[in-house]
Subunit: 444 residues, 2 copies
């Protein structure tokens, strides 16, 4: 996978041919500081539009409590065609009952009127506080303004990124270019994350038996491509890409009610459509996975209060399920995460978490080691359950960088799993405890 090189290009979601974007401020949090286009406030409503109908694929939270916009998207994506996405921050439209569903549908209907696109080809996403009814007059003004401001400039994609951010401290966007069937194809993407981050998404929102139950910021990701690809093939590619990216990250172990990834493929690159498992499929799959993984890592790096990012690499597990359980137990252990924050190479906490995980673990088989990101030389702290001769100073140096890999070998089988995980810091606690005297500080 890593053999293929993709050229980075500017413009994220408007880099592929035929895509437009915009982002406006319409005061969805009702701060009362003016509406319409941005008046000094962070934007909070975005539009992403293809000039022509596109094939579409989506992956959605498997949380049983699932927001109205997620339900709308999961249903509409089934038809395989879409042309526009409307997204807001500041309100998750989750746990808002029948009115919430009416409001999500009213948002797509407004976009339909403005852009003269069939309502059923419009998708919707929301992120923000749970349980608050959407301020529809504001949303309406926002959609009207955003429809007027649509364009293909990178600055417009950046305004869309800004509009989907919540506790994110920086925008997350990427675009790449590569050859596919003799044509130049681009994939662009934007996403947001920060807290309530351990997505476990499936194509329908139904929980697949293989997915661990304990999965968990809202993450939203919107991807555009000018590749020509059938909806079913696109869905297969996205499922695989998400399995190796967004479903492998954790900030705080909490799975949101709103996690959503959508891909629109409008075919304007003019490549010949391809089918599953031919060489073009594999190139596209690799490219889409690359985009998703880069965006997923940006979410972890910019997680709430995050100071260090650790890639937990489990190997030698009896089964894939064991490998996944072992990686998630370590990646979500409060004691392991606080030790990462302190730069403490505390293998005792790590082997403790392995031991209480659902994975089969045998003490005198376990290896624990450190390396720079993406492997290279591993410094082992534990081999076959026994401390190595690595000194405490050496191990501290290995656990000191802002990013490192933690290698956990169970030596019981052949299965492996990776988790991209954040440390747990005072800043995370401070941010999320909020301030009840200022309810605008209280998160979703």
């Amino acid at each position: 996978m890593s053999k293929l090189k993709f050229k980075a290009v500017p413009g994220s979601i408007v880099a592929p041919q035929g895509f437009l974007a915009s982002g406006v401020f319409c005061d969805i949090k009702r701060l009362g500081t003016g509406k319409g286009s941005n008046k000094g406030q962070k934007r909070d409503l975005a539009l992403i539009v293809s000039e022509v109908p596109a094939t579409v694929a989506g992956m959605f939270t498997t949380n049983q409590i699932c927001a109205a916009p997620v339900k709308v998207c999961a249903e509409r994506v089934k038809a395989g065609i879409a042309q526009a996405i409307v997204v807001n921050s500041g309100n998750a439209n989750a746990c808002t009952g029948k009115q919430g569903m009416k409001n999500a549908l009213a948002m797509t209907a407004l976009v339909s009127q403005q852009l003269h696109i069939a309502d059923e080809h419009i998708l919707v996403g929301s992120t923000g506080r749970i349980g608050v009814t959407m301020p529809m007059p504001n949303v309406r003004e926002g959609i009207l303004a955003a429809a007027q401001l649509l364009g293909t400039e990178p600055a417009q994609a950046s305004e869309a990124v800004e509009a989907i951010m919540t506790s994110d401290t920086r925008p997350k966007q990427i675009a790449i270019e590569f050859k596919l069937g003799g044509r130049t194809v681009r994939i662009g993407g934007i996403c947001k994350g920060a807290g309530m981050i351990q997505p476990g998404m499936s194509a329908t929102g139904a929980r697949p038996p293989a997915l661990p139950a304990g999965l968990h910021a809202t993450m939203l990701c919107f991807i555009t491509t000018d590749a020509a690809i059938e909806a079913k093939t696109l869905q297969a590619c996205l499922r695989e890409a998400v399995a190796h990216s967004f479903n492998r990250i954790t900030v705080d172990g909490d799975m949101s009610t709103n996690d959503t990834v959508l891909v629109l493929a409008n075919g304007l690159a003019g490549n010949k459509g391809f089918r599953i498992q031919n060489s073009e499929f594999r190139i596209f799959q690799t490219a889409l996975t690359h985009v998703c993984l880069e965006l997923a890592k940006m979410i972890v790096r910019d997680g709430e209060g995050v100071h260090r990012v650790v890639t937990v690499r489990v190997g030698g597990a009896r089964t894939i399920q064991d490998a996944d359980a072992a990686a998630r137990a370590v990646a979500n252990s409060a004691l392991v995460k606080t030790s990462w924050h302190g730069g403490d190479p505390n293998w005792g906490r790590i082997i403790d978490a392995l031991g209480y995980s659902a994975a089969t673990v045998v003490e005198d088989k376990v290896d624990i080691g450190y390396s720079a990101p993406g492997a290279g030389k591993i410094l082992w702290s534990l081999r076959r359950g026994q401390p190595t001769k690595a000194t405490f100073k050496q191990l501290c140096a290995a656990a000191a960088p802002k990013e490192f890999d933690l290698h956990l070998r169970l030596n019981l089988g052949q299965a492996g799993a990776v988790m991209y995980a954040a440390d747990l810091t005072e800043a995370y606690v401070d941010y999320n405890k909020g301030d009840v005297t200022d309810p605008t500080t209280l998160g979703g």
Copy 2:
């Protein structure tokens, strides 16, 4: 259960007839500040001894990585007889390989020599840093000193409590007196906790299928009673008591390698032995559960950095397993725990955690409410998935006390579960990140 009244008495583990205790400082952390009895340092080695052989029962961590002393106890408890317990803090004797097992056995052998008690009737417990070989010369000095200092005074029990503390900020002890078969019987107990606390214990250390996989400070608890009770009956009582107490608490969701509860019953109260399910059994069972629950709550209240204690009461679940999964998901959610710290009655985070739990949850059935500890009037924030008319100010007042009950009704069945949970604070993170320039700050 709550109908029976138990009289509180002083002396904890030496309150029952025929029990002696002591606690000394022998520098197990090798701070180099002098050995033998306490020289201004916190004690770190305790002895608990019965004048006569006692029946014994034990419950042990189900972590697959399990400390040498746990293995020794799990094996010896099977015979049903014990007379002494030696316990140290400062070193967990976990992940210490064959030498660790030799050292645990050497500790019981030393006590055997000093007290002229059969080696196989001596149990051992350890808590502290994982993966460090026990400093046996210090331990030896400690055992010799502790054997000299044994006595039946409450002050000696207090010295034993001090010796088992790690990050605990205060001692945890209790003793009660009640009538059993016409005789006055006492039960006394001491325990320690603070971090790495979500015990999931079984009688053998093997993980029972019914126990959730994700269970997790080292907690140690030692209970004495002068009741006469057969070992099998005592084990049945302890299993039930732990199921309703220590296995229902969480500080940080991490299950330790060393969690241990031991009960010695020496029969000196002179009651007639009783069997399972007669009225005396029920009285003893209720008394033992009361002692375990009071000690378990002390552990949560004194958890690392803990500011608020919340009793999560799930009702109306489809199954016991669902009720347990729902309660643990909420009790261990980083976002829910930080909102408790902030006094934020954030039902969005709570229903989110319910939704990603393994329990079946239906959004428009869920009730969420608050009450003072132990029920009374419930203030509902959500009924059948819809916000109630309770004001934000009212809900903040309900979530403001240092202790409150959180009522979660799924309204899908009849099953319930309770978890005694701690909030997540900056102080927890600060304590557990430690300071790599001062390895003595780094926890087990």
